[in-house]
């Protein structure tokens, strides 16, 4: 009781009275349906310039992707109007154009191009704007197209990945300063991750580590920086495990300095990832540190 009596005023002083005013300020939004085309378009429009490369994609207050929600609303509007393309009016072209914008932010470039094409060929007020958009997004759709045929060998896959990285890098330069730049950077980053993965899949952990360090150097501002650090930590940890396993199987003799250097690098990468602002990522990093500590404890006991 004495502790409660001491804690209560301390808590009150520490937390301040702002809490109550904040509670009083909360209001529940009305539940009436959206009733104008402008409101649906505006809701999408305010997020079209978001820098989705540096920051997390915007979500609604219940955690849904704003672009997916906007697309869903537009699809519902189109469904309710239920007009064939031949009988479209201006409102239908507006809906279709907005759909194109939502689709491009969802990285569905092919669908976005199709939507812009439908508007561009209409002769409506939006036609010219749609044609311009179509040109840019068409290059994105081309760059994100799947390979024409299965890869003949792993090296062909690597060359394909390298080609895509270069292509997206060029596109990012072309659209520099426009809202499309963040999209191109995201795509380029994805392919760089693919390159790291390719080396890891091919048992080339040393190359994978180098590729991952290049990824971190090239994407220092990315919102995924923490995740890349985790990936790098995993690669170092896997390398350390491999060194220890090979020694355990008498495949090679254990070089303790090399093993410890790899473990040290893994811990370091996880520690940096644990400084990310996202609680989930911090938790993930801490869990990996614990897992590696447990592994190392066993490994140390096995060292002759």
């Amino acid at each position: 009781m004495r502790q409660i009596a001491l804690v209560a005023p301390v808590l009150f002083c520490a937390s301040g009275c702002a809490s109550l005013s904040r509670i009083a300020g909360i209001h529940a939004p009305d539940a009436s349906p959206d009733d104008s085309l402008t409101s649906v378009v505006a809701e999408l429009k305010v997020h079209l310039r978001d820098d989705t490369y540096r920051y997390d994609r915007a979500t609604t207050d219940d955690g849904r992707n704003v672009y997916a929600v906007a697309l869903w609303k537009l699809d519902r509007l189109a469904g309710l109007r239920a007009r064939s393309q031949q009988s479209w009016e201006n409102a239908d072209y507006v809906i279709e154009f907005a759909r194109g914008k939502a689709l491009e932010r969802l990285r569905r470039y092919g669908d976005a191009v199709a939507a812009y094409q439908r508007v561009a060929g209409s002769g409506s007020l939006l036609g010219d704007a749609a044609a311009e958009r179509e040109r840019v997004i068409d290059s994105f759709a081309h760059a994100s197209a799947p390979p024409a045929e299965p890869f003949a060998n792993p090296e062909a896959e690597r060359l394909f990945i390298e080609g895509r990285i270069e292509l997206w890098r060029q596109l990012a330069e072309e659209v520099h300063g426009t809202p499309y730049e963040s999209l191109a950077l995201e795509e380029s980053e994805s392919w760089q991750v693919m390159r790291v993965d390719w080396f890891a899949r091919g048992d080339r952990l040393g190359d994978a580590i180098s590729a991952c360090e290049n990824l971190l150097e090239a994407n220092r501002d990315s919102k995924l920086f923490g995740k890349h650090l985790l990936r790098l930590g995993d690669l170092y940890a896997d390398s350390a495990r491999r060194v220890e396993l090979q020694a355990h199987a008498n495949f090679t003799s254990l070089d303790p300095s090399r093993y410890e250097s790899l473990v040290d690098q893994a811990f370091s990468a996880y520690e940096l990832a644990a400084e990310d602002r996202r609680p989930a990522l911090r938790r993930e990093a801490r869990n990996r540190i614990e897992a590696l500590l447990a592994y190392h404890e066993g490994a140390a006991a096995r060292v002759p």
């Binding site: 009781m1 502790q3 009596a5 001491l6 804690v7 301390v10 808590l11 002083c13 520490a14 301040g16 702002a18 809490s19 109550l20 509670i23 939004p29 009305d30 009436s32 349906p33 959206d34 104008s36 085309l37 402008t38 409101s39 649906v40 378009v41 505006a42 809701e43 429009k45 305010v46 997020h47 310039r49 920051y55 915007a58 207050d61 509007l77 309710l80 201006n90 507006v94 907005a98 914008k101 007020l125 939006l126 150097e217 220092r220 501002d221 923490g226 410890e260 473990v263 893994a266 811990f267 370091s268 996880y270 520690e271 940096l272 400084e275 990310d276 190392h296 404890e297 490994a299 060292v303």
Partner: protein, 689 residues
């Protein structure tokens, strides 16, 4: 003033305890009354059993009635027992000053028990089934018939309520036929139900409406989706980045128009003005106003909101952190009213936060840790605030709060140097820093050996190598320090073997780490030398006494520091110990490095310690062949302890891990066996191997 408050609190506490005692007494009285009623029932049931034995063919209806009464009595007693036990639990928790969480749990159980008092139970349903045949056959006496009618009425009312609820749901869902069937059945059971009549009227109205639509061939209402021309023009302007501010024929006070204007302003960079417009639109009604409200709540659009939230969070965490460190900064905000979640996870968080707060209130934290944290300018992790400030400046570089955001970034710059995006970069290249995580090293590194130990185990070698320039030496393949001498392979192996022999024979001792760990380090060095590595030896330069700040660090951060006169000060959790080993305590040792010293036959030391601010003591202790004698004067009076490890001396600790303890204090003399914890640890270690 404090005395008055304390008197008032004491008075309130006394009244509260009196009320609880009255409650507990009432509960116990209630339990006793319930017990008597149950005993009476048992007497009646034994008479009935006798009758059943004498005339088994008679009174089947009476048996059923008796069973039904028993069932009802059992149900009633069970409910009373639940309430009584909750009441007693609450009383006990209040009397012993249990935590508020436990008090709330007990009060909740009591409330649940009271609320469920009049609920129908399975026992009641079974009793009704048992009484039904007798009621139909007219075999029940007046009292039992009255009971049957009461139970039957309760069941009917429950059925009617369920049917009407179902009917109402069906009507709302447009299932008129199903709603009507439910209401008809409810009316059969209770023809006087007003609620059923009202619902029936509603069903009739809906049926008439549907019939009228059918007569005039009207289709069911469809959502007509047509947009005003100005609405389409506005949307078009928005999509083409056109001027959406003044469309013709749009109503001036329309929320959509306001929203379009705000969006266009936002796009053109007039962010502050756009947010003002959005706030105005948010006060209107309709879908566009809803959108405006959602946008204003969106932290990515309204960076000011995010900045405010993060400043608030950072400031609160900083205050809490100064008070209770990282644990309180990380968990304390869960106690904020707005952060309380009424879920299992929320409850767990709340409990954790409460525990952290309770830990904060201890003298060592309040008198040592908290002031030091304040003096050092303790700060919580600020990545979220840094991002919010950066984003604000990205969106509104000339905004009203831009200067404040910049000042926060400036304030956080010191932390940024240690952040994940800055630390690992050198000239643009990614280079990982050394890990901070501590883990057991397996690579042989170095061992510190005292001159005493060398002279005892390898005197000739020490003379040959002229190892007299220092009190201690560092042995290793690298990183041994200045003035290192390379040892020839044979000598190196001999030195390592002598050290290992000494450790195993007990003439040498390890410092800081277990003897096993130090032996393992020596063995690994031996292995490296055998594979061709050169062992080096260098004098270990003596440490100077700790500075005032190092002493502060030892006290606050739980490290160990050595002061003038070879006195060491260390802290572990809430215990602070100052001591001096007689004959030295390894001042030459390095942190996290195996260390070997000569073992004296008798070891002793003087110490002063405080434990959590609750007690303090000064004393002396001595060890000889694992026997220990200690004498201390503490806040609880003088106290002496003698420990005689007979089992260890006889070599039977593995079977009998006990030692004899003799304690002499103000409370008298006591003697007896106690578990030898070191023997248990050794056994664990042996098993793990």
């Amino acid at each position: 003033m404090f005395l008055e408050e304390r008197d008032t609190m004491d008075g309130a506490l006394r009244v509260g305890l009196w009320l609880l005692r009255v409650g507990v007494a009432a509960g116990l009285l209630f339990l006793a009354t319930g017990g008597r009623a149950r005993a009476g029932d048992l007497l009646g049931s034994s008479d009935a059993a006798t009758q059943l034995l004498l005339a088994p063919e008679l009174g089947a209806g009476e048996d059923r009635a008796r069973e039904a009464r028993d069932l009802l009595a059992t149900e009633r007693n069970r409910k009373i027992a639940v309430i009584s036990s909750a009441l007693v639990d609450l009383g006990i928790n209040a009397s012993v000053g249990a935590s508020p969480v436990k008090l709330l749990q007990s009060a909740g159980e009591l409330g649940r028990g009271l609320l469920s008092w009049s609920n129908r139970t399975r026992g009641e349903e079974r009793a009704l089934l048992l009484l039904a045949p007798g009621a139909v056959g007219g075999e029940l006496d007046d009292t039992t018939r009255g009971l049957y009618e009461r139970l039957e009425g309760r069941e009917r009312r429950a059925l009617v309520t369920g049917l009407l609820d179902d009917g109402q749901r069906a009507l709302v869902a447009g299932q008129v036929r199903r709603a009507r069937i439910a209401v008809d059945r409810a009316l059969e059971l209770d023809p006087s139900s007003e609620r059923a009549d009202t619902l029936l009227d509603a069903i009739d109205a809906q049926t008439r409406s549907a019939r009228a639509r059918a007569i005039f061939d009207l289709a069911p209402a469809q959502p007509s989706l047509a947009f005003e021309a100005w609405d389409v023009r506005l949307a078009t302007s928005l999509l083409t980045d056109g001027d959406a501010r003044d469309p013709q024929s749009a109503p001036e006070d329309d929320a959509s128009l306001g929203l379009a204007r705000a969006t266009a302003r936002y796009e053109s960079g007039e962010r502050a003005e756009a947010l003002d417009d959005l706030r105005r639109v948010a006060t209107l009604k309709g879908g566009a106003a809803n959108v405006a409200r959602e946008v204003l709540e969106d932290r990515s659009i309204n960076p000011e909101l995010a900045l405010d939230d993060e400043i608030w969070s950072y400031t609160k965490r900083r205050s809490l952190g100064v008070l209770g460190g990282e644990p309180l900064a990380g968990n304390g905000l869960a106690l904020e009213p707005e952060n309380v979640e009424f879920t299992v996870d929320g409850y767990r968080k709340l409990k954790r936060s409460y525990k952290v707060f309770r830990k904060t209130v201890n003298p060592v934290n309040l008198l040592v840790d908290a002031p030091v944290r304040w003096w050092r300018g303790w700060r919580p992790e600020g990545a979220a605030l840094r991002e919010a400030a950066t984003r604000y400046l990205d969106v509104e570089p000339e905004g009203v709060r831009a200067a404040e955001a910049r000042s926060w970034l400036e304030a956080l710059r010191g932390d940024e140097r240690a952040s994940a995006r800055v630390t690992p970069f050198r000239d643009g290249y990614f280079v990982l820093p050394h890990a901070r995580t501590r883990y057991a090293r397996i690579a042989p590194r170095r061992v510190v050996v005292s001159l005493d130990a060398l002279e005892r185990q390898a005197p000739a070698l020490a003379r040959d190598l002229a190892l007299e320039s220092s009190d201690a030496f560092v042995l290793g393949e690298s990183g041994v320090g200045e003035g290192a001498t390379a040892l020839e392979r044979g000598r190196a192996l001999e030195l390592l073997a002598r050290l290992a022999d000494g450790l195993e024979a007990g003439s040498l001792q390890s410092r800081g780490q277990s003897t096993g760990d130090v032996l393992e380090a020596v063995r690994r060095l031996d292995g490296r030398v055998r594979t061709g590595t050169t062992l080096r030896i260098a004098p270990r330069l003596p440490d100077v006494s700790a500075s005032l700040s190092e002493l502060g660090t030892a006290l606050v951060d739980g490290t160990r520091a050595r002061t003038v006169g070879d006195i060491s000060i260390s802290r572990q959790d809430q215990d602070i110990v100052a001591g001096r080993e007689l004959g030295g305590d390894g001042a030459f040792c390095l942190p996290e490095t195996p260390c070997i010293d000569r073992k004296l036959p008798v070891q002793g030391g003087l110490f002063a310690q405080t434990s959590g601010g609750d007690s303090a003591a000064v004393g002396a202790r001595a060890d000889y062949r694992a026997a220990r004698l200690s004498v201390e004067m503490s806040t609880n009076g003088p106290h002496a302890t003698l420990v005689l490890p007979f089992a260890r001396w006889l070599g039977i600790t593995h079977f009998l891990p006990v030692e004899a303890h003799v304690d002499v204090g103000l409370a008298g003399i006591s003697a007896g066996p106690r578990l030898d914890s070191t023997a248990a640890d050794e056994a664990d270690a042996a098993e793990s191997l």
